[in-house]
């Protein structure tokens, strides 16, 4: 707050803001405070401003009865049809990554178990976020490094039943590892009856009574062994994020639980794009936010404008029960109260049969049920009921 102002109006201003905070959402209050702190304003002007502001806010409030679910579904569904139409205009012309777009959107709404391209955004703590080299250090800790990644060449000496691995020291150093690390790992997995010798950067694993097939199997096993990093994290990339103004790590493959425990990682902001993983590690609220953000990302990337409020409602509908549910017959729809509404969507007969076993009631409280029965729809203008007093 500007110090130059006299105390009187400043206190007034704060009072007004506190009062307004009871009515207006915090985001608007913050914005308002910022603006007002930079300007001289008289009491009358402030009163006038407040009046207009509150008035405008009330005008913008959503009406009771508004069929917001349908509006939301349309606002999310309609742009998805345009995702196709737009790319059609450049028939045949090269397009960027197809991993996003409609397939990803369907994946999200379906709440699929695993995303087709699992990714993490790893934010770093104070110490590491400013410096790309330090960020890279963390990245090496995160990225899965197998022996294969640091191997220059592998040979099998069939006569002596020996596997000879030549390690690339440069690679090793680059990843902040030493031959000692490699030795430990190789010894751990060599299994029974094998000898490990190390001289400089060559590892020799000698097996007793091994046939060709076994030798090869052992070689493959050694090559695939984890040296450092986290399971499932296939690739990591240190990138400067313009939006946040800091260095971050992007990874292909997710393992949120393991990443959050690594030193240097800012566990408050680090996130994965796997809804179920996030729900498990961080809770449903986090999963809700991820669904929302991921949907927004898809739409933004396609250059489509959809208000965040719609995506908010979609993700709320998917998560409000405390579990992540699919938008469809195995999720949201299957848990509807009305048997007719379920039957009218998909798997008609099964739903009717089950309703009869449980002796379910149809109370016509939703939209489809009411349409089926030819009743007024209990939403929108249909929510209004009048009580008339007869004299």
């Amino acid at each position: 707050m500007a110090e130059t102002k006299s105390m009187g109006p400043q206190e007034d201003l704060n009072n007004v803001l506190v009062q307004l905070a009871k009515i207006l959402p915090p985001r608007i209050i913050d914005d308002l405070r910022n603006r007002l702190s930079n300007m001289e304003i008289t009491k009358e002007q402030l009163a006038n401003l407040t009046r207009i502001l509150v008035n405008e806010y009330y005008k913008m409030l959503i009406d009771p009865g508004e069929a917001i679910g349908i509006v939301t579904a349309q606002s999310v569904g309609e742009p998805s049809t345009q995702m196709i139409l737009r790319s059609f205009h450049f028939a045949g012309l090269r397009e960027f990554s197809m991993a996003l777009g409609l397939p990803r959107m369907i994946e999200l709404v379906d709440a699929r178990r695993k995303p087709s391209i699992p990714m993490m955004m790893i934010y770093l703590d104070e110490e590491h976020r400013k410096d790309p080299n330090k960020a890279q250090e963390v990245a090496y800790k995160v990225q899965l490094t197998t022996i294969e990644n640091v191997t220059k060449s592998v040979e099998i000496d069939y006569i002596n039943s020996q596997i000879i691995i030549e390690i690339d020291k440069n690679e090793l150093n680059q990843r902040g590892l030493s031959m000692e690390d490699v030795r430990k790992v190789v010894e751990r997995i060599k299994g029974k009856g094998a000898r490990v010798e190390i001289e400089d950067n060559v590892i020799r694993v000698t097996l007793e009574e091994a046939d060709i097939i076994k030798l090869r199997r052992v070689r493959d096993k050694i090559m695939q062994t984890r040296l450092a990093g986290i399971k499932n994290v296939k690739k990591s990339l240190v990138r400067y994020s313009e939006r946040d103004g800091e260095w971050i790590i992007e990874t292909e493959g997710t393992n949120l639980e393991a990443v959050l425990t690594i030193d240097g990682v800012d566990y408050r902001r680090t996130i994965s794009n796997d809804i179920h993983e996030v729900a498990e590690v961080l809770g449903v609220e986090a999963a809700r936010t991820v669904i929302m953000r991921e949907l927004k990302k898809v739409l933004d990337q396609q250059g489509l404008d959809t208000d965040l409020r719609h995506l908010m409602l979609v993700s709320d509908v998917m998560t409000w029960t405390g579990k992540v549910r699919q938008v469809g017959r195995h999720g949201v729809v299957s848990e509807k109260e009305s048997p007719l509404a379920r039957a009218a969507f998909e798997v008609t007969v099964k739903n009717l049969v089950e309703a009869s076993i449980k002796g379910e009631f149809e109370n016509f409280r939703g939209v489809v049920e009411s349409v089926l029965a030819g009743k007024y729809i209990p939403i929108g203008t249909g929510i209004v009921q009048l009580l008339m007093e007869f004299e």
């Binding site: 508004e66 509006v71 197809m98 949201v332």
Partner: protein, 891 residues
Amino acid sequence: MATQAEKTSIREEEIPLKTIKAIKFSILSPDITRSLSVMEITTSETYDEAGRPMVGGLMDKRLGVVEPGARCETCGNPPDKCPGHFGRIELARPVIHVEYSKYVHDLLKTTCRECGRILLTDDEIEKYRRRLEKLRIRWKLLADRLIERIRKKAMERTVCPHCGAKQYRVRFERPYTFYEERENGVLERLDPMKIRERLEKIPDSDLELLGWDPKAARPEWAVLTVLPVPPPQVRPSIQLETGQRSEDDLTHKLVDIVRVNEKLRTAIESGAPSSVVDQLWDLLQYHIATYFNNELPNLPPVKHRSGRPLKTLAQRLKGKEGRFRGSLSGKRVDFSARTVISPDPNLSINEVGVPIDVAKMLTVPMTVTEWDLDLARQLVLNGPEVWPGANYVVYPDGRRVDLRYFRDRRELANKLAPGFIIERHLINGDIVLFNRQPSLHRMSIMGHLVRVLPGRTFRLHLAVCPPYNADFDGDEMNLHVPQNEEARAEAKTLMLVQNHIITPRYGGPIIGARQDYITGGYLLTKKDTFINKEAIVYLLAAAGYDGDIDEPAIMYPKELWTGKQLISMLLPKDLNWIQSTAIRESCKDPYNCYTDEYLIIVNGYMAAGVLDKKSIGAEQVDSLWHVVVKRYGNSYARKWVDSILRSLVRFLDLRGFSMGIDSLEMPPESYRELDKLYDDSEKKVLEYIQKFKEGKLEAEPGLTIEETLENDVTIELSRVREAAARVAEKYINKDGEAYIMAKTGARGSIVNITQMVAMLGQQTIRGERFKRGFSGRTTAHFEPGDLGPTAKGFVRNNFKVGLTPLEFFFHAAGGRDGLVDTAVRTAQSGYMQRRLINALQDIYVAYDGTVRNASGSIIQTKYAEDGIDVSKSDHGKLNLDEIFRRAGLSR
């Protein structure tokens, strides 16, 4: 029951009108089935030799009648009043209801084969019952989960804790066969009779633990002993032209059932060997199973004589054309019309042009009152042929007169009095609903005011094309006429076009200028456009302007006005607005830009800038047009856009605007530059390939060497195309129509121009360079293993010069791939939207501001955390700038 006394016919008024309050689902018990039925079907014959329905047959008149003139023998009503009455078939042996067989299996697995108790100890039962009782009240989903657990637990028991009987595994073979697996591995068939006995033994209290409601559904009812027979209203027979009768699929199926049932009964009564009885029993089971569902797994569907599978009960309900989705959720309607659409820039955006032929067919009911008596008389006099007339007159007593067949209309007109209803033609100003499929959002159906016009097409304003996603290449649209005041009031206040200028998707205008309007706006407002007096009067008249004309910008030797002046006259006088234009290139400061790259409006005077897509276009947020809608309201905005767009299109008419090959002219040096670009790039690509072939190419992390090469080549080739685009933009005629359209956002883009004058670029299939065809090459014109640009579908030529045959082929293939992709993805996104709608449709904002679903559960405590309706917001926000401005605190 079958001998019900004959009643006199019920009058329609006596049939009580009721609305459904609730439905309880349950299984029909044999007792209810019998008490529902008016007769037992005893013979499989439907008609005798004379063609009369057999007594005791499936077409017995006691079941109800459908043929006109006949009388129902149960209720005595003619076909239109008789609701139909159920009959029944008493089955000689019980059979399993297929749709319940899975649930029957669950019960057999979880209950004792001897005593019928659930396979849980008394303690467990008590524990679970108490928990279930509590969960049932509020947590239905948790209750379901608990039931699932109980079932799992009970299934594990192999010895009954109540009577100590050993349990055998019950094997279920879809769709309806059950076996018991004895210790020695012998399978023993459980016939429906045995199953029924076992189910009967299960006590009510145990059933509740397994999720059954014993009052609604005793499990033995799932094994049928008597089959209800629906009345002919449900399965009407149709008369073919040949005079032959053709029976409904259900009737065919029922005939089969009755026939087999008869045979089975005689076999049992005559003491036939058990193998014969079992065979017939199985056949009866098969027929009854397919009667319910003819698409069962492991069962051949019953076929019609022609080979077409019969449509039985489940098939009637299921799927898109089924009862639920096809007949109950969606219905055919009257008072609607459909025809081709065409544009009319002289209409208001609120209007729709209706062909006079359509206007004469569609009617609106009009109650005659003493104030409109004269009008009503005239309409009746005009009759159905002359517009505006009327097609029907309804007397106060409900009698309807069709004016087409009424001789003396004059007399009828004189008889008219308050209380009559006439169904008059559609006239100007009537509100109708206008719709274009696919109806993806609420702006796909909007209310329009009728304007009856000559011609045979619906006319609509071009600015409303974006919300409908309509164009005029043969699109058709539907029109619906609301038939009562309530519907008309809702259409007028909620659905009228002007109330949908702002879309709820992002809170910006979705209706607005496109194509020619944008070109017109640009050409009119750019700096070197001057209009003489004649033209400005003409344009202002077109806009419907009735104020004073501003002083001309140039007085001598001729009075000339600028285009900006014309627009200024049409702008509201208190409007101040600054924004960037679509043609903006380098200007940063609006106040120091001399090339019209910023639109500046001061007190309704257009000081600088041009009108283009950014300012008046559809789907542009924070634009001039958006501000006009927000500040001045829907009604004003509608009038404003009507008038300004009319003026713009008239200006374009006067000036003339057509694109030809000359607007794509490029100087020779530009082609030399392009050639050089391509040659350099080709050399580079060939270098990459050379390196690759020599094995010198290093793989990038995570990629194979082949992928690395492909990646490098692709990047290089798209770089050329971009360079070509820059060359094209450098040399293209800036005053050419093509460039104007691309730059102002009217149509096309620089990419399209590049393709026409410079280079088409890489053609792709599924986002990759061409690779299919012969082994190692795409066509026979290349060496196997050729990885160069031309061999993989790079088109270096442009449309103006023309493509080589090979390039043409690649382009066509790429285009086809795009079309296929579109078709596939449309289906995908359509299904996604259907699911979204189905999942979210019940959600509404309650009076307390919470967002709830049909059960009343709260989904959000305040809509979207701030309660702001996107369609009322300013691009999703509360615009503080605007509020400060209104409070007199701006800048």
